[in-house]
């Protein structure tokens, strides 16, 4: 499954865009332009881009609270996404959802979620609907290692297998649920083992290696599309930043963080592309520059965008 130059350029661009978006998000927050909290996915770019690179445009994803990367990988308009992050009226959710609830329904992104495990049961139902309508679309359902401890995960795996839904469940195991170390109750291997017991074809991958992620998820996507039912992929990765703005990183060491930074998914894919002659040094630099320029443009767009009018508060609670 070798990549074309176009693919290489596209995936590297998306990864840089994610990195740049998260860095900008943090800056904007520090500058007091954003209220609320946010969950940054710096360090997890390969999991998002590698997984979603296997989809057709009309396929679906449903995400979790750490969803910026997933949203970009699914092809979101960066301006509308940044505007939503800023809570502006022309953002994807008219400023109602913000960081934890960005959705791009037309683009097949059925939304981030503020409730850990909250998206997993819905993923089963989306799969049921796709199957009933005999659509050949598939869904990627993303959640974290912490979500795997919830009852929602257990019930959903049982239902997914029972109804043989066309869904690939993707556990982004970044080693911690806030301060709770995945290793304290389970490991990514164990999550895959649970998946196997539920009856799902399950594997775990080096989640910082875009190629490895892509290959693992592609298997699941092919299985789902060919009527083979659900599968589970565990991407082992790491978040460089704290869990959220309330995090004081008391539960992990600087050394551990540094160790993982050496496995930077962008650096690795960058080097791979050069090694495989998919990109030149210069092309890669241009891509990086473009990514940061795109995000800067998005920031300008977002900051110039209007806040929702308070008169519209009650709009959109009920559908006609």
């Amino acid at each position: 499954m070798t990549l074309t130059k176009e693919q290489a350029a596209e995936y590297l661009l998306q990864m840089y865009q994610i990195r740049a978006f998260e860095e900008q998000a943090e800056k904007s927050y520090m500058a007091g332009k954003i209220h609320g909290t946010m969950h940054l996915s710096i360090g997890q770019e390969a999991s998002a881009v590698g997984s979603i690179s296997t989809l057709e445009p009309d396929d679906f994803i449903i995400g979790h609270h750490r969803g910026h990367g997933l949203t970009i990988a699914k092809g979101a308009d960066l301006n509308l996404m940044m505007a939503e992050f800023y809570g502006k009226e022309n953002g994807y959710c008219r400023g109602r959802g913000g960081s934890m609830h960005i959705a791009d329904v037309k683009g097949g992104n059925l939304g981030a979620n503020g409730v850990v495990g909250g998206g997993i049961p819905m993923a089963v139902g989306i799969g049921i609907g796709l199957k009933m309508e005999a659509k050949d679309q598939v869904l990627l359902s993303f959640f974290g290692d912490g979500a795997a401890s919830t009852g929602a995960f257990h019930e959903s795996m049982i239902l997914a297998e029972l109804f043989q839904v066309p869904v690939v469940f993707i556990c982004e195991n970044n080693q911690y649920a806030m301060s709770f170390a995945a290793s304290d109750w389970t490991t990514s291997k164990k999550i895959a083992a649970h998946g196997e017991l539920y009856g799902l074809a399950s594997t775990s991958t080096d989640g910082n290696d875009l190629i490895a992620v892509r290959e693992a998820v592609q298997k699941g996507v092919d299985l789902a599309r060919s009527g083979g039912g659900p599968s589970l992929v565990v991407n082992d990765t790491y978040r460089w930043r704290g869990h959220s703005k309330s995090d004081r990183n008391r539960y992990r060491t600087k050394e551990e963080i540094e160790e993982w930074k050496k496995k930077d998914p962008i650096g690795r894919f960058h080097d791979y592309c050069l090694k495989e002659k998919l990109l030149t040094e210069k092309e890669a630099e241009e891509i990086e520059d473009r990514a940061y320029a795109d995000i800067e443009a998005a920031r300008v767009f977002a900051e110039a965008s209007p806040d929702p009018s308070v008169d519209t508060l009650e709009e959109g609670v009920y559908a006609p």
Binding site: G111, G129, I158
Partner: protein, 328 residues
């Protein structure tokens, strides 16, 4: 006109809508071969097959979320929670997800979901199979809450609920399942948000829900013989509430008694009382607004205790008589 039971009305509404719209399906526990704990969906598996009658293991949270997800992409699921007591397990997906997805996404989506569940006591099933939580869901913007009292209302309201583009919590009462009434064979809608005056009267208004409508009507007949003319208002839909019909009735009679089965404290009766007390009807009140509702206890097993825990016809008569004779 043809008479069928409240239970048959539920089944008929679901069956006719499933015949009309291929996006409608059922999901729940033991709703297939078993026919549902109360036999509501009995026979539907034969008619629609396993593709559209989705029998699940015990997974209230999972199946409610599954219904929500299916609705999110345009299906029209009807989820059954076997007893309302178990909506405590499903409420995360119902309250945080189904009710909020549309607003949270800035109007990008609709969630045309119906969650059916039987509430109420009187079956001797005790603390874990007898509760009424309607006011929990009335408290959640994004949800609609329907609570029918007759077979006719069941069919029209359930059809409207299935066709509605929002999540609807459809609450049935176990003791009403076997009650009979006239129901047209053809399909019809009763708009959500319209109350029904089940009995016209001039001396006082009783606002009652579900089985308390039936009991209030019985009480009203007996009170009529004492010369007390009771109006019985059935909101039918609790959210959105038909405030106008309620306010008008109270303005007419000047006295109001609210009757529901759910525990009094924190119940829907409080909302009704507040709606009246803050409305123009306030100026017409000739007496305090009285509530008669479930006692402040879990539903006990013993038959006598169980029936003492919720309002009975005699209790309604006593309270209504007291109110009728009140002079302020």
């Amino acid at each position: 006109m043809r008479e069928i039971t409240y239970l048959e009305a539920v089944r008929e509404a679901m069956t006719q809508e499933m015949e009309r719209d291929s996006r409608v399906f059922l999901i729940g526990e033991d709703i297939g071969e078993y026919g549902g704990a109360f036999q509501v969906s009995y026979g539907m598996l034969e008619k629609f097959g396993h593709e559209r009658i989705l029998d699940t293991p015990i997974t209230e949270l999972g199946l409610t979320g599954a219904a929500t997800g299916a609705a999110l992409i345009g299906m029209r699921p009807i989820a059954e929670i076997m007893f309302m007591d178990f909506t405590t397990l499903a409420s995360e997906q119902l309250v945080n997800q189904a009710a909020k997805l549309r607003f949270m996404f800035g109007g990008q989506s609709t969630v045309p979901l119906v969650l059916r569940t039987p509430a109420g006591s009187g079956t001797g099933a005790a603390e874990h199979h007898s509760q009424s939580f309607e006011n929990w869901f009335v408290h959640v913007p994004g949800l609609k809450v329907v609570m029918p009292s007759t077979p006719y209302d069941v069919k029209g309201l359930l059809i409207s609920s299935i066709r509605d583009n929002n999540p609807v919590v459809f609450i049935e009462h176990k003791l009403l399942y076997k009650t009979k009434g006239e129901v047209p064979e053809e399909m019809y809608e009763i708009p959500l948000g319209k109350a029904d005056i089940k009995r016209q009267g001039k001396d006082l208004t009783i606002i009652a829900t579900a089985i308390m409508v039936k009991k209030s009507l019985e009480a009203a007949e007996q009170l009529a013989q004492e010369g007390i003319d009771v109006e019985v208002v059935d909101p039918r839909t609790l959210r959105p509430l038909d405030t106008e019909s309620i306010v008008n009735s109270v303005k007419k009679t000047g006295k109001v008694l609210i009757v529901h089965e759910a525990v009094k404290t924190g119940g829907f009766g409080g909302e009704l009382a507040a709606v009246i007390a803050e409305s123009e009807a306030f100026g017409y009140l000739e007496a305090p607004i009285l509530r008669l509702a479930g006692r402040e206890v879990p539903i006990p097993y013993n038959r006598n205790l169980e029936s003492a825990a919720v309002p009975q016809v005699e209790d309604i008569i006593v309270k209504a008589r007291e109110l009728a004779n009140l002079k302020v």
